[in-house]
Structure formats: structure tokens, C-alpha cells
Amino acid sequence: MTTLNSVGHPSPRIDALKRVSGAATYTGDIRLPGMLYARVLRSPHAHARIRRIDVSKARALDGVKAILTRENCDVVWGSGDTRNKRYLFNNPVRFAGDAVAAVAAVDRHTAEEATRLIEVEYETLPFVLDPEDALKDGAPEIQPGGNLSPNNQGQRQPEVLRRGSIEEGLRAADHVFEDHYTSSHINNAQLEPRVSIAQWEGGRLTVYASTQGISNCHTEIARDLELDAKNVRVVCQFMGGGFGNKNQCHDFDLMAAMLAKQTGAPVKLEFTRKEDYVAVHGRWPTKQYYKVGVRNNGTLTAIQLRGYSGMGPYRKGTGGIAGIEIYQCPHVERTVHPVLTNMAVSANLRGPDYPQGVFGLESLMDDIAYSLKIDPVEFRLKNMTRKFNDQTPYTSIGLEDCIRRGAEAFEWKKRWHAIPGVGDRPAKRGAGMAMGSFFSSLGRSSAVIDVDSRGMYHVHVGVTDIGTAAKTTMALIAAETLGVPLEKIDVIWGDTDRCPYSVGESGSRTTTHTGYAVVEAAKELKRQIAEKGMPRDNDVLTATANTNPTVPGMARYSFVAHFAEVEVDTDLGHVRLVKYVAAHDSGRVVNPLTATSQVKGGATMGIGMALHEGLLYDRASGVPLNAGYYGARVMTHRDAPEIEVLWVETEDAYGPYGAKTLGEPTIIPSVAAVANAIYNAIGKRVKDLPITRDKILGVLA
């Protein structure tokens, strides 16, 4: 791979100074003159009809300026449910945490006090928490038409992927293995709690949102409030993480806007951490049933998955359970049921379809390898994907190198036991691995670059940088294409008044989509400079690129392989990470410094998902019990092992300088790698996430 001038060199974040000096302004830091504070009242019940709401006592409280309920606000939150109408305030309420009212007051304490003065008469209804139970006869109907959420064609059928004939594949097998796995609802738990500030100036609305997608927010707010797009501005200069659940406008953005309209004052609506855990969304819980057929020599003949994903009562996510695509196999059938339940809503969290599906599939593949007495690494090398869907060539694929080089760096042969559970008691060590892939999309985005007479280049992109160092990535790409040092680049971001469309920082698409637009805009600007010379005085040269590249006839994916060694104290059921190696093919790495941090972060999140996290519900009441950082046992400094990162940089002809997706692949194999390591250590498998102490002691008993 050729060495470039800016791209590919470790570069500190261009906004790091602001972040380390307390000068970065996050949405919650903003105070506007006359600003009011808002809080939301939420249903304590999992499913209930609201018979009566009485806001009179709340309204009479000194300092309360406006109250919204369904009775005076029938705004539809368009992106709150892709299949049914979801209002800001719904009746019936369909999960514990569903919004019932919003109050704006002179300070947050008064607003909160006021919510507690609102009297609501509920008629509780039967509820259902488990996606399989929700499909049984007699299950409470959560939305009209039934609990199997319709597919993209509007049909009440599960999502199906087929290749070949599953019956033939199972017949052709020498052995058929069957097992099932479950995973929990995981909250994104980004450290910045949700907050939104809305301000009207005449007919023009500005929303200071904590968002990954200012363009999405902008379009959706305009649509939902029936405003002209030019009368909406969305601003987000710094935001404290999202991991996928802050990519669109939310109901509370709209509530803030409506309260601001009613009161004539700017309104800041704040969430508590508990609200953040239950009232927005997290990763869908799944139940996965697999049947895998294999020949004696370890070659796969069939993979069948029947899956159920709990989506909560409002359909926001795909409900997908991915993983099959990392295997080469002639006969494949995946049937996934996205099912409505009365739990917290499910939607995007880092690699939405992936880590839970890879956990299930890679656990079973591991068991198969052991049964056939094949080294799990060899089993993956034998059966890993070579072509997407076994037919479409990849633009680049470094999966084999990820596995081989990762295994070598990890010292797989030394750490892995051919016979699981063979170590000395009580502290048993073992090693596991898993592989994965993630779509590296190319698609629509825009960039505007101008240059002034001082030779400063201003790159306008609609990113907000949720922690991915997107601004720095755009700057590096611009500097590279323009052929100027990084210091000459200034990035303008996070304001729909100043920035063009961006896809929003999700799907790990920022580098590939917006980065590509930056390349094209930079090329165009260079052409203008060559033609007209550098600008003088107050002149500015401007280049715009609206790009939507495609990759004809090929599939573009990133590839990963993670390796984990654990030590399990079999007396205490305690798991400790001893060594962790993450090997990644993301094409050319634009910024190795920040990219490596991404991998460390994603892998660590995955370890937390494997060992600790899961929103637990009380079955009798449908109320979540362990919302929050303490309840979820989120990983601390002491829990985080050293994550060693290995880059396999493949040459890819597409994307900005051959860069492929990066942010989400980081978590994809991590859960499975840890689960497989635990199996190798103790010789028993826990098939239900999270793999907590009680479950480990349970299988060892």
C-alpha cells in the first residue's frame, strides 16, 4: 500500500483541545436567555389505556408555563415507528416508560415536581415481554393487526434469506447440529443523557439537538411539525456518544419544540439516566434456533436460523440477526421474526444486527469444530466466506489474513486447549475466537469546500462527530486530496444552516459516504484553482460535491477476527480477560490513532455485553429493574483489558483512498470470542447472554 501524505498518519483529533479543556459545548451546556426547562411524565405500566389525565394541579404550580398531553398535542413522531402511527403521547401506553405528558417550567426542579402533580387514571392491560410468547394465540395485541411486525413490503411475514435448498443441505450433511441461544436488551448507555433545546424566532425553529444526524433531524422535524425545511435549523457541535440511537429526530425534540411554541420561550428538555435507559431504545433481545449441517471433513452444507427479535411496541429497527454471511455454505435459510413486545423499544446499537447473531452462530460453529476435533481457527479458515452470498465478489477481502495474523499475534496454539476445561482448578484459562464482516456501504452524501485568500480551506460537512473523530477524518482526506498540510484545513460541521447533507453517523458510513464527497469536492476545487488561480482579497473559490457512488457487481465489506483468552475462577464463577487481540480489515485506515481507539472501544463494549449487560424486567409488572450504569454493571477501568489491535490493510479501489467501514465491526465478533474462550476454559457453554456468575456456576454445578 502506497504511503500518503496525510491519510494514514496517526493524527490527534483536531477538536481534542476543546474536549480536554471543558470548552466543548454539548447541548446540555447551552443556556439561552429566558430558557425554560422541561421534563417528561412516563407510564409506570407496561400496557395501559389512559382513562383520564388531570393536569390542573400541575398547571397551578408556581413556575409551570406549559403542559403537553395527548389531549392538546397530536403530533406524530414519524420516525418513532416505521409501520404504525406513533404519536408523541400515545393511548394506550405500550411500555413502562412510554411518554404521557411533558411540562415546561422555570427550572428543572419545578418541572419535575409538576410531572408528579399530574394525575393519570390508567386501566392496565395484559402485557407480553417475550417475542415468542407474543406470537402465541391469545397474546395481547400490541398494535392493530398483530405482533409480528410487517416486513418492508408490508406483509406479515418473517424476514427470510435463502440460498440453495435447506432440506438438501441438511440431507447432504454427515452430522446435523442443533442448538439455541438468547441475548438481552442492551442499552447504548452513551454518557451524555438525552437533551434537546428548541427555540423559535418568528416562524423559524432552531433545535440544538444531541444527535448523530443533523440532516436527518432537520428533515424529520420539518416533516413532523409540518414546517418548510428552510424554517428549521438543527445544530450539534459536540455530542457525548450515541452508538446508533441518536441518528434521527426524537419525540423529545418535537416535545421541546411544541413547548417552546406554546410558551414563546426557548425550552431545554432533559432526561434522567433511567429515562435514557428505558424510554428511548437499545439493542433488540433475541432468541435464536440454529440447525447446521456439516461433513466429516468440516465443510458446511447447511445453516438454518429461526430467530425472534423483541422490538418493543414501536417498530424502529430491523430486528435482524446477522452472522450467516461470514460463512461459505451452499444451503442457507434464515427466518427472522421481528416481534412487538411491551418492553423498551429496540433500535440501533453499534452493529445492530450483529454481535448477538454472531454470538449464537459462532458458539455453535465452535461446538461443531470441537465435535469434529478440528481447531476452531482451522474451521473458520475452511468455511469463511470467499464471495458475498457465495456468488458476488468482494471489492477486497482480508478475512484470511485477519484470522491468520490475529491467531499468530494472539499465540493461539499456546493459549487454546484442544480439550476444553482441561486446566487446573480453580482458575481455568481458555481461548476463543470469532470472525465477522460488516457492510461497507457507499452512498449519498455531500461536501462543500471553499478556499480563501489566506490559503485556508473550509470543509463543510454535516457530521457531528459522535466520538469517531469524523471531523479529523474529513480534514485528513481533504488535506490529502488538496495536497496541503492538515493545518490549512478548517472543518465546519454540525449546523444545517452551514453544512450540506450528510447521511448521519450511523452504519459506520461517515468515512465512506461523506469522505468520498470530500474527495470529490476537493478534486473539483483543485480544478478551479488550476483554472482561475488562488483567490485574492475577499474572494473565495467554492466547490460542491453531491455524490452517490455505487459499486457495480461487487460487494464491499469490512472483515474482522477477534481472539480472547479468559481465566475463569470456577469456585466463584468469575471471568477475567487475560489477553485480547483484534484483527481488522477496514481497507486503508485513514487515521490509525483514532481508528485503533475505536477498535479498543468496540471490543470493550462487546466484553461488557458478553459478561454483564442486559435490561432485566420484572415479569409480574413489566417494569425494568436494573436501568442505569450500576444496574447494568457497565465496564469500568478495572474491567477493561488491554486490547491489542492489528490492522490488515487491504487495497480497495473504492471509497475515499480505499477506506472501508470501521466503527461497528469493532464489536461484532467480541461477544462470541469471549463466550468461546469461556467454553474453552471450563468445558461448559452458557447460551444465554449475559454470561453472568450465576449462569457459570449453574453450568459447572
Binding site: 415536581e113 466463584l572 409488572s621 429493574l625 454493571r633 469500568t636 477501568h637 474491567d639 453472568t692
Partner: protein
Amino acid sequence: MKSFANVNARDLKDAALRLKEPNAIAIGGGSDLLGMVKDHLVQPDVLVNLKTIHGLDQISAKSSEVNIGGLVTLDTLSHDPMIRSNYRVLAEAAESVATPQIRNVGTLAGNVCQRPWCWYYRNNFPCFKNGGTKCFSVAGENQFHAIFGGGPSFIVHPSDTAPALVALDARFRIAGPSRERTIPAAEFFALPKVNAAKENVLAKDEILASVHLPRAGKNTRSTYHKVMDREAWTHAVVSVAAVLEMDGQVCKRARIVLGGVAPIPWRLDKVEAMLEGQRITPELAAKAGEGAVAGANPLAKNGYKVPLTKAVVRRTLEGLAQV
């Protein structure tokens, strides 16, 4: 938060008198209590700030005892050289609590008087602790609840210092508006069958003013072993406070108290009797582990605490025997 007045107490008597008011609550470090106010678990109109009382934050060694003021922070306690060398179990227990930020302000008395972390209680279910007449954990999610002494409430006592203090035969000095009383630590804590709404015998207008430890015998060794569901910042799933007075290789006197398994610090007097007069061999440690779980009554989801307790008691004794 709801509105309240912060009242800086002048002295213990002043504080106790203020606490007679119906909606007045005493507050020390405040880490837990402020959260409870925010969650509407308590609704004070007055917070009686104990931190302004002089003289309650000292550790002083007298001829026959060591006095630890109730306001001594967990950080101070865990670093005090005399506590570390003579009452190691207490230093280790204090050090195991939460995080540096909490230990810097959290007080010994506050840790001992801490309310339970049962998720039904903390989520405002109308349970015994919230003034109701039911324990929701019995038929619900009881992974972290009691395997001893439960009923009608099945919470576990959340304090780390409490089992250590019981194991050290500490005495608690309790100050009220007109009188003081000093009682053994073990008598401070109350089983739910006595009063399911509370965890200890403090009256509303009483304050845990100080803790008194008998002089440590020569050749006493002690430790606190805490099992947590992440590496830090979590209450004990199971913990063991063990104090052994040795005579050469023979254990003269033992105190073994469990945390995380019962609504009060759970003293294993039968196991203590097993150990006294014996050498602590691996076999005896294993027997002690078995003895520790005799009579355990696990609920539907916390059965794992039985083998866990067995193992932790055995390991703790094996470790102490080698010191």
C-alpha cells in the same frame, strides 16, 4: 429534587433534636441519600447535615479500645496505618466500597446505615421498605437476595463495613436527643421478622455517633473478601469478614461474618466453634465452608450463592491460615 432546607448541625444533641421533626433526615456523605431523594424514596423537608459536627471524624486509640467517629470517611479509614495493621478487615472492607470519589466523602456511619439496594425497593415498588406489605423479590427476580434470615423481606444488607465491625466485636455509640446508648454491633442490625421496614434499631431521632473496637489481640489476623459482579463499584454478591486470633498455628478465637447473604451481617457462630482450638488446615477450611451454608434457604434464582459462599469462606480461611 423536591425542596428542602439544609440545616448544619451544631452538635450531636442539636442534630438529634432536629431529627425529631417529622420530615427531617440525617445526612453525612450524602452519596446514597441524595440519590434517594432524587428517586423519591425519601421526601425530606429538612436535611440535618452531620458533617458540621466537630469531633466526629477522628480515629483515636485509647488503652482499652479504638474509637472511630461516625464521620470518618471510608478513604481515611482504609488508609489509617493503625487500622490497617490492627484491624485489617475493616480497612479492607472500607477500601472495597464503590470508588475513590465515594470513599472520599462516604462516612463509616453512613455505610453502616445504608439502605438496601434491592431493585424492587429502589424502583419504588410498594414493598415493605417503601411502607407496603409485600416483598416482590420472593416471586420475582431474586438473584441478589437473601439465602439466610429472609422473611418477610429478603433484602441483603448492603454494607461492607458492617460485617467487619460485627466480626471485630465492635460497639456502637448511639446518640439521641436526651441520652446515649452503646450496644454491640451485632445488636444494631435487625432481622425483617422483627421489623421488615428497617434494617437497624436506630430510632428516627438517633445518630450512630461512633464505633468502638476492642484492642486487637496480639497475633490477630483478619481480612475482608468481597465478591463483586464487576471489578469494582458494586455491592457484595457474597462477602466474608474473618478475624482469627491465633496461638501459634492454632486458632484460639474466630469471628466469621458474611455480607451479601442476609438482611443483617450474618455471623457464623457454629463455624467459629468448629475452628476454635484447631489448626486451620485445608480440610478444616473446606469443612468450615460446608458449615457456612448449613441451613441456607435459597430462593428460586439465588441458589448459586450457596456454592459461592462455601467457596469464599473456604478460600478466606485458607488465605488467612497462610498469613
